[in-house]
């Protein structure tokens, strides 16, 4: 029937359109002062759009299907979901008070959110958009990470100065490991054997063996001419090939490049002021950093270990995520 034919053709057109790679990859930066997300074209590095979101956006995560971005809007006390096709906030998820950072389970179904003001980690069922459990932890929980096998959650607590290992099935604390002062960020290596934990006030990175729950190495940083108290380790990005760890050093305005086997610091890359967090491109060749005080994003060529460009974004950029 002509009518059915028309419908079939229309459906075909839709399928064809959807399969065309219409969009280049993009970078998404949370601007904690502007209450916006800056969307940057990864090829041209031009700003595509600035999206208004809830108050004080900080932590960002890409969904497992890469279709949406989860945003911790700290002062709005919830998580927002940004649809990447339309660049609009489509819904909000419960998070508990003052969500700052979070981690995604490998199956993409659960978010673990640190509630800094509440000494708890909230477990959020993404599909339901609701908190399903709350796990008591140390004072001022901050950094969150999930092991690659999804079995272990790591949470850092700033005033307690510990990395807490939590069993993802029972939500019980398995071990607590003392690290440098004010631990802010945790990141598992690719095989899950180690966790890197940055300490902002201590200015160090503790490498923790996940089977023994022991610090096996402490990475120290020293930059000639830079006062040691301004070297404050925050964001960590580990390269996909397992060779390098990149550590953002906050007000030292540098990213340290650490050999992920020997833990020796190979190089310091000068970036913008107060560098917070970083993310790699999908191919791992480029690293991007959000620089809080200079209000820009640095672009780093990973193979050359050089900063190639800086891109002005919004006010007080905090998180950066590479996505479609």
């Amino acid at each position: 029937m002509p009518y059915a034919l028309t419908r079939g053709a229309a459906a075909l057109v839709v399928v064809l359109l959807a399969s065309v790679p219409a969009r280049a990859d993009h970078l998404y930066l949370s601007n904690e002062k502007d209450n916006t997300i800056t969307v940057v074209d990864a090829t041209s590095l031009a700003i595509v759009k600035t999206v208004a979101v809830g108050a004080r956006p900080r932590g960002l995560l890409l969904s497992k299907d890469r279709k949406s971005l989860y945003i911790c809007t700290s002062d709005a006390d919830h998580i927002e979901e940004l649809d990447l096709a339309t660049l609009t906030v489509t819904r909000t998820l419960q998070s508990g008070p003052d969500p700052e950072t979070f981690a995604l389970s490998p199956d993409g179904k659960t978010l673990y959110v640190s509630n800094e003001d509440d000494n708890e980690v909230s477990v959020v069922d993404i599909a339901a958009g609701r908190i399903v459990d709350e796990i008591p932890t140390g004072v001022e929980p901050e950094g969150m990470a999930v092991s690659p096998d999804g079995k272990t959650i790591v949470n850092t607590s700033e005033t307690t100065s510990m990395a807490h290992f939590i069993d993802a099935a029972s939500h019980k604390m398995v071990a607590s490991v003392l690290v440098g002062s004010r631990p802010r960020y945790a990141e598992f290596n690719k095989d899950g054997s180690l966790v890197w934990v940055s300490s902002e006030v201590g200015g160090t990175v503790s490498i923790i063996d996940t089977s023994q729950h022991k610090v096996v190495h402490t990475v120290n940083f020293a930059i000639p001419g830079v006062p040691s108290e301004t070297i404050q380790a925050v964001g960590i990005a580990l390269s996909e090939d397992g060779k390098w760890g990149f550590v953002a050093l906050g007000p030292a305005n540098r990213i340290a490049v650490v050999d992920a086997h020997s833990f020796a610091v190979e190089k310091y890359l000068l970036v913008g002021q107060r560098v917070w967090h970083m993310d790699f491109s999908f191919d791992g060749k480029t690293l991007y950093s959000a620089n809080g005080v200079s209000n820009d994003m640095s672009v780093i060529d990973v193979a050359a270990m050089k900063v190639t460009k800086s891109v002005p974004v919004g006010h007080l950029p905090w998180g950066v995520v590479y996505g479609p």
Partner: protein, 410 residues
Amino acid sequence: MPFRRARSLLLMALLVLAGAGPLVPRPARAQTNPAPPPASTLDIVYLGLAQRPVAPESALGQPATDDGLAGARVALADDNTTGRFIGQGFALDTAIAPDEAGVLAALRDRLGKGARAFVTDLPPALLLKAADLPEARGATLIDATTSDDMLRAEGCRANVLHVLPSRAMRADALMQYLVVKNWRRVMLLAGSTLEDRAAAEAFRRAAKKFQIRIVADKTWTFNPAEQRADTGHFEVNTEVANITQGVDYDILIAADEEDNFADQLGYRATLARPVAGAAGLMPVAWSPVYDETGATQLQNRFFRSAHRVMTERDYGAWMAVRAFGEAVIRTNSTDPATIGAYLRGPKFELAAFKGERLSFRPWDGQLRQPVLLVDPVSLVSISPQPGFLHQFFETDTLGVDQPESACHMH
């Protein structure tokens, strides 16, 4: 300055309450992780002299009865949260006596029972008597409330540490800011108490150090009680106008440690100039207006615990109890000598919401730290100011550095 009360306590309390947002409905809490009983406990004694009730300028200035102690309580909870993960407990024993004899008797009693970790809330002379008790030799007294320069110089003691910034540090913090603003002509107005004179001397020394000119140096003698008369404000206005007449200056600095007159200088002077020191722009360690580098968390935690805003004395006691906690947790020991050595050593670091690690200066037992410059409702700046450099710690541009120190520990 050291004994200042938080301003506008009521106003601040209302603001904080208003800021407490609606709560998201929560599921039932998961099982609490079982905490093993602590393998050992450190007893921390809060040794205080009961505060003389002072007549506040207005209803806004009423100090809380637990001013100081409330900060120690919050720090104790913080210490125990960390401690429960490693089997270490902390206990706070409050010993506040009404007079000098009572304080010394309480100290002897606690020393006799084996306590060696003390947080003190004592005036300088009494602190020295306490530190000099023969039994106190192996103890550590963390002075949580004074800013006295003498205690950090010729009056320093090997068993005493100080957490609040000294008068010298506060004065330097203010003068660095004046250099940045290029406000180089100061009128100094000092009260007549011993403390006021010490504060004025600190401002003079700092002015010289940073090449700020004191163009007028006067003493305030007006009786503070007179403002309470029904027409008192007329007299105060006249007095301030008179004393500031005939001088041109960029900023008026008040040395007034007991809040006798500093708050009455603004808007009343002959020239339209800002006020600093004990009113207006104040160099402090803590203020309810401060919410940077995670301070919001401590402000909120304190408010939930004490139902009021956190004062500088609360913050001093919080730092003191946290310092003991840090030393015990990091050394995994409650041995007094081990704790004492760690506190003074290069590895000690206190995260006290100032954006950098704080440590004790080995030469005079003073905690090095940035100093906030605040007015009653906002954070204005934080010293050291950018560009004031130091070979080791930029915070050592504030106060008395090692080469100038008159402290010879004994």
